[in-house]
Symmetry: C2
Subunit: 233 residues, 2 copies
């Protein structure tokens, strides 16, 4: 695939933006900084991206792509029980969010926007340019896809007996996702407090994952993979 000059420069700007957002944060990164680092004039960045928010959306798009690929990678490996997949997903998710803070921040930010979007009173506050952004709809789709894959994992678990059969797949998966989102959100603040509590929390991650497993665990051994042919989708 021959990349046009335009696409190349667009990518350059995006890469610079990611780098700066990562090191300095979104708010502290000026459009001028991005331009300078990319070796172009400030005005030109507006030729490639509608505005700063649009640039951030492009970052978010990359984040979601990577995010979805994590889901897919785990899902496509055969010979694992549903519970094992969910467990792997949890680990991968935590690793991902910790290794890519901006990506994760971007995803969280996006979810916040969608939340506003659902609220009629708040919807009009959203910068219309965001909604017009070519990325916005695509992001909704990707998020949806991730959900679908996750639900399939739980469904597998229900079928292969690794997850308690009385659970409902959608509810269960979204609850797990909730836990993961909240885990990241709390990890920092809680860890910070220092003093007594911090010590015990060093083993939060294993404890967290274990609790999740307990919540789901079905009739078969959780960690011993179980071969099942799943007819999914």
């Amino acid at each position: 695939m021959p990349i046009s000059a335009r696409e190349k420069k667009s990518k350059l700007i995006l890469d610079v933006a990611i780098k700066l957002f990562t090191t300095k944060g979104f708010a502290s990164t000026k459009m001028e900084d991005v331009a300078k680092e990319a070796g172009i004039s400030k005005g030109l960045t507006y030729f490639y991206f509608k505005n700063k928010e649009d640039l951030y959306m492009a970052v978010t798009k990359k984040a979601f792509d990577e995010f979805k690929s994590i889901f897919r990678e785990i899902y496509k490996v055969k010979g694992k029980s549903g519970l094992q997949m969910i467990t792997d997903l949890a680990h991968a998710y935590i690793d991902f969010t910790q290794a890519n803070k901006i990506y994760y921040a971007a995803i969280l930010n996006f979810m916040g926007i969608v939340q506003q979007y659902n609220n009629e009173e708040l919807r009009r506050q959203i910068d219309p340019l965001i909604l017009e952004s070519e990325h916005f709809q695509k992001l909704l789709e990707i998020q949806h896809d991730c959900g679908k894959i996750g639900i399939q994992m739980v469904t597998m678990g229900l079928r292969d007996g690794s997850i308690r059969p009385e659970l409902q797949a959608e509810v269960t998966f979204y609850t797990i996702w909730s836990m993961l989102i909240g885990y990241e959100r709390l990890m920092g603040p809680v860890g910070y407090e220092g003093k007594e509590i911090k010590i015990h929390l060093e083993n939060w991650k294993p404890g967290f994952v274990k609790l999740m497993q307990e919540m789901l665990k079905g009739t078969i051994q959780a960690n011993k993979p179980q071969v099942v042919q799943a007819s999914l989708f």
Copy 2:
């Protein structure tokens, strides 16, 4: 308690700010708007609050106070099992966050700042005025207090048998908190998607709470209150 004129006006501004942040959102609310609505000049708001962020911190403070009182109210009722308390807490938390979007947004925002604060590289990005804010340290404390109360609830559950004894109180409580935070965060976005998935998610809340209970449930009946004398703190 005789309230000084200064405190009264300060409170007026704060109330106006809360009202406007609620209806228009933080970013869309201009300092001028706040001033006008409060019947004062823009400059004067800077006499009572260091800057916009400081004003938001004051809102956050109110949010956390209310938040903590929820924890306390539930905790002080006698004759409930630990599991029941946690269950009540979950319901109260969800109600609170849905009834007070700005308050909840403020709490989330604060947690985000603390997260930055823990990261040496990111710490310097934080507006120093925030850290200097008289509220900041107090907020950390309140958050800490909430954690302590929650942990006590779990501890009660461990003692009275309503929560599985092999669990560790801190880890368990923070995991539950994670779930709650994530639940709110996902509720909007997931609900939005419309189509197939939405239908099933209408029963997410009960399913969510039930899953949480299953995760914790110990040897005694969960929802039937169990009188125990807890020697806490």
